[in-house]
Symmetry: C2
Subunit: 418 residues, 2 copies
Amino acid sequence: MQAEIISVGTELLLGQIVDTNAAYLSRVLSSLGIDLYHRTTVGDNETRIAEAVRVAFETSDIVITIGGLGPTQDDLTKETVAKTLDIELLFDAEAAERIRGFFESRKLPMAESNLKQAVRPAVGRTIPNPVGTAPGAIFEKDGKSVICLPGPPVELIPMVTETVSPYLRDKRGPTAEIIKSRVLRTAGIGESAMEQMVKDLLQSGNPTVAPLVGRGEAQLRITAKASSEEIADVMIAEVETKLKERLGSYIYGVDDETLEQVVVRALIERGLTIGLAESCTGGLIADRITNVPGSSAAFLAGVTSYSNKSKTELLGVSEDILKEYGAVSGPAAEAMAQGARRAAGADIGIGVTGVAGPGGGTPQKPIGLVYIALSRKEDAHPAAERTYSQEFKFSGDRRNIKQRASQAALIMLRNELL
Amino acid sequence: MQAEIISVGTELLLGQIVDTNAAYLSRVLSSLGIDLYHRTTVGDNETRIAEAVRVAFETSDIVITIGGLGPTQDDLTKETVAKTLDIELLFDAEAAERIRGFFESRKLPMAESNLKQAVRPAVGRTIPNPVGTAPGAIFEKDGKSVICLPGPPVELIPMVTETVSPYLRDKRGPTAEIIKSRVLRTAGIGESAMEQMVKDLLQSGNPTVAPLVGRGEAQLRITAKASSEEIADVMIAEVETKLKERLGSYIYGVDDETLEQVVVRALIERGLTIGLAESCTGGLIADRITNVPGSSAAFLAGVTSYSNKSKTELLGVSEDILKEYGAVSGPAAEAMAQGARRAAGADIGIGVTGVAGPGGGTPQKPIGLVYIALSRKEDAHPAAERTYSQEFKFSGDRRNIKQRASQAALIMLRNELL
């Protein structure tokens, strides 16, 4: 079973909105095992919508259009699909009632043009819209379907969940092939180096194993086609085991799991707490850690010490260190990590200092130079502590450097906890 | 002049990434007055890439492909375009040198497969990649061009800015019609309320004025078509003046300007410094402020005080306040703001405390309840200070609540500085 998605909207072609709907629907189709080989975007233009629908309908079993269902003159999709497939549109009294009710319940005046939305295909069905005024439509012809959905994601998503997914599952039948993917996420290794380590395991058969690039970390995606989720899971697990043997602790998580989730979980499991001292990352590490629900069990406090005064007063970094080595130095990072640990009353402290740019770089301390330190109370000797630091050189703009430094700090913390 | 964009990548068709590149390039084309009637997405499949390029090249003057330039077997775009257009690919010694240098400077081992990227079209040119290893390429044939760009936005954007935009501007020539847009960004007003205030100024002619919904703040977009940038600017300025009269200080910035940029600029202009005390926002406000280049002139220090101990010890919030009102309360927020100001030695302190969820909510203090306070030294009486707080109730998940609270804090700061 093969599908095509057609996104309709001049605002898409002007780049004024990013098409998250197409990505969402792509995921839905792939989880249902429906192949998607093409996506197309056209503007609010009858000729081009018609042509896109005609071509897609020729080659696919399912065509899904997104957008162009509103009440304005620009909204042409349903009418154009009806003409292209030669299926009549009927006035839908029930939908008209619902649109009137929508405005009444919000005490808003209704323009008559809104009733233009109250139509349904003579062959096919309506897709109720629980959130907005524009109902969707499914046109049926020659065993194929054209499904029309509205553009706002807040309307489209419930319509897909409640009506389109069950419809497609039904149409697909119980025996079709499904596609399942699993992404392995790594830390502490570059993309090429990872690829070298698993080169012979990369494959384009079934399952496929492929590197994903440009995500700020090296990732591998395993994708299996199978007749059921269970079989796909087994196929994926088999390859995953081999990849994990090869990549070992470089793999920190799967799918949407983030490094900060893994680190927070590891801290909580070990009953350890943490404090942060951030200079060049400017609070980003604290932000990432506190994005994790329940992180308050492990994260006690952070200090974003931009000024030298805050480094000495809030973190107890000695002025001698700042004078002798400078604020961007290994000793300063280590003193910050110790200060973070003590100020927060935590088991572990992290200190990060560097030059995020675009100003502030010198030949000795160029933009992208970052020192990250970790300080930990020794379990065996509670009075003793262990502190170490590492030098990094990151490239990119200010936000890239902040992001990479925060990633490196979380990796250092993860390695400490392994 | 007409263009088409072809996004290449199986991960796009599986919905694993959202195609922000296509939107970005669409904006670039529209700003250059180059028409874009279609966008297409295909997977990493030679036949389908070739077919998409063939069709696009027939109907368009400019075809831009995104993705598939990496070193892996899946990366087929340049080779496929070369075959489709019957243009040879030559080994590019300079590009090879640059790729070697990229790995050397990072002290990473280089896989030989990376040199696969070091090719350039026999007819056309290379697009230098200042950030990554994969150079882009422009193939030229019959007065038309196929432009190949890599998928990672961090590489694509500088390549477009530095090479592709000037190339297209040159090719377009001086006389075409251009489209120009300007987005007005507001703070402190909802989308419906904004729309009500400017209802009669919304228009679909030239220029168009339309609200942009679902962006986390109320925005208006003005779009003008004209024969030159200058004329478009005048047309936009005319409507903008009217909108600004209507919306007044609700408008804080335009286009890509962020609230944090506006706030940092206002602080620097007034010679004021700031310190932060963040509880539920967890460092996000510090992160946003420190994303702004030059923010170190205004931002001195922040404390992310998750534990009560850090509130009392680092910020000097009295235990009485925490006991009597609780950590999530107006008095606690005010004490935090005062503590932030003093701890940082700053002119202004901001304190934020609340329940970000998903745990920790109670009937008295539900998830989404947030108190934000501001404390400022009185200019007239340096020893005196003025502190005030406000209660908010935000909806959404943990990250939404953090985001909305950080936005509200920046708005409070902006209003204080106006």
